[in-house]
């Protein structure tokens, strides 16, 4: 499914995407194309991309291509999805340990659409962190390891 969405292959392209996407939610999916969960997530992203085209721009990023960002965004699990709005990072309170990114795949397309809409509306009101509208049961569970422990 991933061939349906545009890909960013180097740090410069990611920079450019973050800087140039204006008044829309920028969705960066960090992962690998052949990973099983990534495929599932990519399917959801690709199928919703058109419906969300006025609110969001979706890009796929391969974690191996951008080691700087992988490290900077603390990506330890793939897929991880990071949201930006007008060049600013948007945090979302999912009820999981990490507010900076969504780890894993969404359960349904509607979950993702709801999340984008909440982020968009929150950003338009000037909020840098929003509460996730997704049912906590539908959010994948994981443990976050502190660096060095």
């Amino acid at each position: 499914m991933s061939f349906l969405l545009p890909k960013l292959t180097c740090k410069r392209e990611v920079d450019q995407a973050i800087k140039s996407v204006a008044e829309k939610v920028l969705v960066l999916r960090f992962g690998r194309d052949n990973d099983a969960v990534c495929l599932q997530l990519d399917d959801i992203l690709a199928k919703t991309a058109h419906d969300l085209s006025k609110m969001a721009v979706i890009y796929l990023v391969d974690v191996n291509n951008v080691p700087v960002y992988t490290q900077y965004f603390d990506i330890s699990y793939i897929p991880s999805t990071v949201f930006f709005f007008n060049g600013q990072h948007m945090k979302v309170d999912y009820g999981s340990p990490d507010h900076t990114k969504f780890v894993g795949s969404f359960k349904t397309k509607q979950d993702f659409i709801d999340l984008i809409e909440v982020i968009y509306r929150g950003a338009m009101r000037g909020k840098l962190i929003v509460r996730s509208p997704i049912d906590p049961n539908n959010i994948p569970k994981y443990d976050l390891l502190y660096q060095g422990i």
């Binding site: 008044e23 603390d74 060049g87 945090k91 929150g122 000037g126």
Partner: protein, 301 residues
Amino acid sequence: LVPEDRNRDNVGHRRRLREVLAQLQEATAAARAAAAAADGATAVQRYDPAEHDGRVWCPCCGLGVRRDERRGGLALLQAGLMQHLAGPEHRRETARFWRENRAEAALREQCLVPAEEYERFAQALERALAEHQRREEERILQMAADIREAERRQRETVQAALQVGELYPALAAPWRGAGTALQQPGPSGMQIGPDLAWMESSKVLTFIGHQVGLATKPPWLTEEEDESKQQIGPSYEEFLKHKEKQKLKKLPAERVGANFDHTSLTSDSWLPSFGRVWNHGRRWQSRHQFRTESGEKKRKR
């Protein structure tokens, strides 16, 4: 530009800064391009106040710099600007300007001219000047020769006419004007052509090389191209831009990243503000934190 703290980071200031720097860069690039070709014949031109009195505004030093240098009746193209750009004053002022306005450091080199480049330019200019003078002198000599030649031919023609006039005075008559010819028809031995003795007696006029300034076009003949070609009113692209702006105005002003400059140039090491998981403090601090971390790692290795 307003060097006050609160205005330094907003979009308007950055846009103005970009425009001003673009102008300066353009002027610098033009000067350097001209300097690279200073050996050619175009570097030195006859001074024309309308063309060579132009000034370039240097935003760093806050003064208008003469683009072309005037030396007597000649204009040295771009010499004034090059001298200014290569000067230590300008170098110091750009450093201050860049610091105060937080402009991108990469652009600064484009607004400066290295001293050795200016040296080369100055030498090339001297050569071009000497070459121009030599050509001018040659031209003057050539013109003097032409004038002498023309005078000689004129004298010969007059002589021939006088000789003819002795036989057929009517042919010589037009020399004295139609009226006299009509009044005194027929052959007349008394009639001799105009008295040309003064011409023979005095020497040929010496040409001292001064020319009446007719080489430049009079102002009413110079075409004003700009006005005729320029379209009146805003173009379609400008209209689209304006529409975009109006659209942006409708969005809430306090939205996230409303002031974010989407067009700024950044280097490869640029990182967005990102609130990291274990981050305390403001979001941009995580970037500094990350830099120090990665710096330490590199040192360890």
